[in-house]
């Protein structure tokens, strides 16, 4: 584009007068932004629901060292998420989820680099950084799968809890968690954990699929032919959004 050519009589177009896309934002990019606004509310609703459940249960009030799992109060997250693969039996609170979070944020950085390479029409770098982003996404999903699996299987001793079964109160030992019972605390804790991290994981998964599509199209020269790598930017917006949501999910489930 001869963007720098100034000739007499040339006028700066008026952005809001019609006949032009305001601020040169393409319709696709606008649509992505509006979709993200909408998705923000989907996640907000879930997190608000989580918040109401969280505060309808009493918190554990004693010393952290005295903490035991019980469905009478909300668990302390450091004691729930303290496992790391290959380090069985060692208490490493929040280490694994910290690694996961770091990987996801790092994949956002590589996404930025891919978008930047796209602005320069640098196909090789777009391919390289998209591959790193895809790898980051898959690693995060893999970590999440491990964490879910660990959460589902539970500790070796389990927790003795009073629950209703077939209409009567009974005491039983519960191992791990699923959607109806939970050894770490009230069932609502596991319900929300599975639902919200699962819903986020679904978003990450669709993001990875989109990233693969972008990588494929970049690699086959589709965007070079089209003359624009804007699609990388649009999918990048989605990827950053998914990362941002994770920051909130992480805060609410693991830190608060």
């Amino acid at each position: 584009m001869a963007a720098n050519v100034t000739t007499p009589g040339a006028v700066e177009p008026k952005m809001w007068l019609g006949g032009i896309e305001p601020m040169k934002a393409s319709y696709g990019k606008l649509m992505m932004w509006f979709f993200l606004i909408s998705d923000t509310f989907t996640f907000s609703a879930l997190l608000v629901a989580y918040g109401t459940a969280r505060f309808s249960f009493p918190a554990f009030t004693g010393e952290h060292s005295d903490f035991t799992f019980s469905n009478m109060y909300w668990p302390v997250p450091e004691r729930v998420y303290e496992a790391v693969p290959f380090l069985h039996g060692i208490s490493l609170p929040l280490v694994f989820v910290g690694i996961m979070t770091f990987i996801l944020i790092a994949s956002s950085v590589t996404m930025v680099l891919a978008v930047e390479a796209g602005h320069r029409m640098d196909r090789a770098n777009v391919e390289k950084y998209m591959l790193w982003t895809i790898l980051g996404g898959f690693t995060f999903l893999g970590c999440q799968a491990w964490e879910w699996s660990h959460f589902i299987h539970g500790t070796e001793t389990g927790t003795v809890m009073k629950v209703i079964e077939n209409g009567t109160w009974i005491e039983k030992t519960i191992f791990g968690a699923n959607l109806t019972e939970n050894q770490y605390g009230p069932p609502a804790f596991a319900d929300f954990f599975f639902f919200i991290t699962g819903f986020h994981g679904t978003h990450v998964f669709s993001g990875v699929i989109l990233n693969i599509l972008i990588f494929f199209r970049a690699a086959t020269g589709f965007y070079d032919k089209r003359g624009s790598y804007e699609m990388v930017e649009k999918v990048g917006l989605y990827w950053h959004f998914v990362d941002l949501v994770w920051v909130f999910v992480f805060t609410f489930f693991y830190l608060v």
Partner: protein, 627 residues
């Protein structure tokens, strides 16, 4: 500096890729069509079919309520087993009818049928665009709506009946399949249908917003947009923000129903046996639901108000009174819509202080609503009113909006609501202010834009008869209903024959039912007029209402792309009616000020200098770019 030169180069480059119009086959032209006009008609026809089903349901349960002794055996061919051998309506099916009437009318008729039809039809035509930003997404939006419709329609034929927990589907009733016949497969299909419906709304809404922002023709700045477009834009934003919350709450409900979670369930006994669910909160669902549910009221109403603004200004032959105040009040209503939801929940045991906060916010809505009401009346004041059917329905809308809005002030009061909650007073209130008012907006829109949609005119006299019968009928139904509500009749009851306090109101209930049946039959005049005129109506002139907006500058039967040649540029707002000094009593938006020196105001003469700029700023014609 990105000069016009630069863009111009890009332009020529793009010209080479100009769209080639291939002959379209039947499927591309009428079924999987990406043309906004066809999609609008698809929405309209589907909406009308749903309206027929939804209103018929209401007549059936009105017969049950007002004429409890009547023998309904004649409905057996349609309802089959839902009518007992003694000719009585099955009580469970009564609940299903009420639920489906609400669902169908709110979502499928007044959301998809109203907003889907007119946003699709008018946005590109009135802002001067070839089509929506993404025709493909627009098509997907309709077909998601269609699948949602099929799923909902299929649920009517289940042996156990469709969903029956009320259109608000509160858990635990909706969450426990064993709670009620309608909470089984019927509720499953309801939830599936609504999830698809939300996807459709999202695809449509994103498209509407983007199109309005990006594809306005040259000169169409935001302060020259017709109020219809403003209302569709704000409606789309409301939907964009509120529907995802319903989506979340529906997903959680699906998990409670099918996967054993306890998001909304706690401490429940069924037949004396305790359920294992602990820790959930049914009130949580109400909060999430009404965070959609209240904006939904405005999603239904705002397009109708936008249509009314346009029709009233055109047919009063006067500029709309308070154009900017209209926009501001719509923005105000839209903002307030999100912070008043708990006024639906005053009796859920919420903190009375919180109740008073929500009461305060709710009552503030009366301010922008009153601004709109006054603006309509002052627009009519001393106008040369033309009583077209569209105009009559618009004036009718204002009347219903005012009389329904008054009772809103009563219901918004948390102390009074304790008495009136879930009575027929509420039913009468929202049927006037959002139900009938929006339906009037829909009628006004159909009568007004029918010539543009089908190139033919609807019969004016049949339209006028239809209006008067409907208008009188609606008031005959809903004014007495307020009294029944004050007397304490609760909503959703199968019959009122066994309580002492209801006996002396039986005649009034019967009157309401007869008025409802009367209004129902009046709608067949519309159906006849509509379908007959599509094929046999008088051929329409290009601008039958002598209106200013851009759609009337397009050919009578606009093809794909709406305008032949260049899209017209816009030089003025759309309300230059009866301008002093002008030759005609209307000046369309595409007439430059330089051609109307006799009627220009001083500041408008200054705008003549802008015309060259406006004309040259032609960068987003979808036929000339890579869209």
């Amino acid at each position: 500096m990105s000069a016009i030169e630069g863009l111009e180069t890009a332009h020529h480059h793009a010209d080479e890729h100009e769209h080639h119009h291939e002959a379209q086959n039947f499927w591309q032209k009428y079924i999987f069509c990406e043309d906004h006009k066809v999609i609008a008609k698809q929405y309209l026809i589907t909406g009308i079919l749903w309206a027929v089903i939804g209103i018929t349901m209401s007549v059936i349960f009105r017969i049950q309520l007002g004429l409890p002794d009547s023998n309904l055996s004649w409905l057996k061919p349609v309802l089959g087993g839902w009518i007992s051998d003694a000719g009585k309506l099955d009580p469970n099916f009564y609940l299903a009818l009420v639920t489906m009437h609400g669902t169908i009318m709110v979502f499928f008729v007044l959301t998809a049928g109203l907003s889907g039809t007119f946003s699709n039809f008018l946005i590109p035509l009135q802002i001067g665009a070839r089509d929506m930003a993404s025709g493909f997404m627009n098509m997907l939006s309709y077909w998601f709506f269609f699948i949602a419709s099929v799923v909902m329609f299929a649920s009517l034929f289940l042996q156990q009946g469709p969903a029956a927990g009320g259109w608000v589907i509160y858990p635990p009733l909706s969450a426990l399949p064993q709670a009620h016949p309608g909470s089984g497969m019927g509720m499953t299909l309801w939830l599936a249908s609504m999830a698809l419906f939300i996807v459709s709304q999202l695809l449509g809404g994103i498209n509407y917003i983007t199109t309005v922002i990006n594809l306005r023709t040259r000169g169409m700045s935001f302060d020259r947009l017709p109020l219809t477009i403003w209302s569709f834009l704000i409606t789309a934003v409301l939907g964009l923000i509120s529907f995802p919350v319903l989506f979340s709450s529906v997903l959680l409900l699906i998990f409670d129903r099918h996967f054993g979670t306890s998001f909304y369930l706690s401490d429940i006994y069924i037949n004396g046996e305790a359920l294992p669910n602990v820790g959930g909160s049914p009130i949580l669902f109400q909060h999430l639901f009404w965070f959609l549910g209240h904006p939904e009221v405005y999603i239904v109403l705002l397009p109708a108000l936008g249509i009314t603004s346009e029709v009233i200004a055109t047919n009063s032959r006067k500029p709309i009174f308070g154009y900017r105040a209209m926009i501001a009040s719509m923005l105000g209503i839209a903002f307030l819509a999100f912070i008043v939801w708990a006024h639906h929940m005053f009796v859920t045991g919420m903190n009375p202080f919180l109740g008073s906060v929500f009461m305060f916010l709710t009552l503030i809505i009366a301010v922008p609503s009153a601004v709109k009401g006054f603006n309509y009346i002052t627009t009519l004041w001393k106008g040369n009113i033309v009583f077209t059917p569209g105009m009559l329905f618009s004036i009718g809308l204002v009347s219903l909006f005012v009389s329904g809005g008054l009772t809103g002030i009563i219901l918004g009061n948390s102390a009074l609501d304790i008495q009136l909650h879930d009575t027929y007073f509420v039913v009468a209130h929202f049927h006037l202010v959002m139900g009938a008012a929006s339906a009037f907006g829909l009628f006004a829109g159909v009568y007004h834009w029918f010539p543009k949609m089908f190139g033919r005119m609807m019969s004016t006299s049949l339209g006028q008869i239809h209006f008067w019968l409907t208008f009188i009928g609606i008031y005959l139904v809903f004014i007495p209903m307020h009294y029944v509500g004050i007397a304490g009749f609760p909503r959703r009851y199968y019959q009122f024959t066994s309580y002492d306090f209801t006996h002396k109101f039986m005649d009034m209930n019967m009157f309401i039912s007869i008025a409802a049946i009367f209004t129902f039959f009046a709608q067949f005049i519309f159906l006849w007029n509509f379908f007959y005129s599509i094929f046999k109506g008088r051929k329409a002139p290009q601008n039958p209402w002598r209106s200013n907006t851009l759609e009337w500058t397009a050919p009578i039967n606009p093809g794909h792309g709406n305008w032949e040649g260049d899209i017209p540029a816009v030089y003025r707002w759309s309300y230059d009616y009866s301008k002093p000094g002008a030759k005609e009593d209307f000046i369309p938006q595409n007439i430059p000020y330089s051609q109307t020196p006799e009627s220009n105001l001083p500041h408008e003469n200054e705008q003549i200098a802008m015309e060259k700029l406006i004309e040259s700023q032609n960068f987003n014609d979808q036929f000339k770019s890579n869209h």
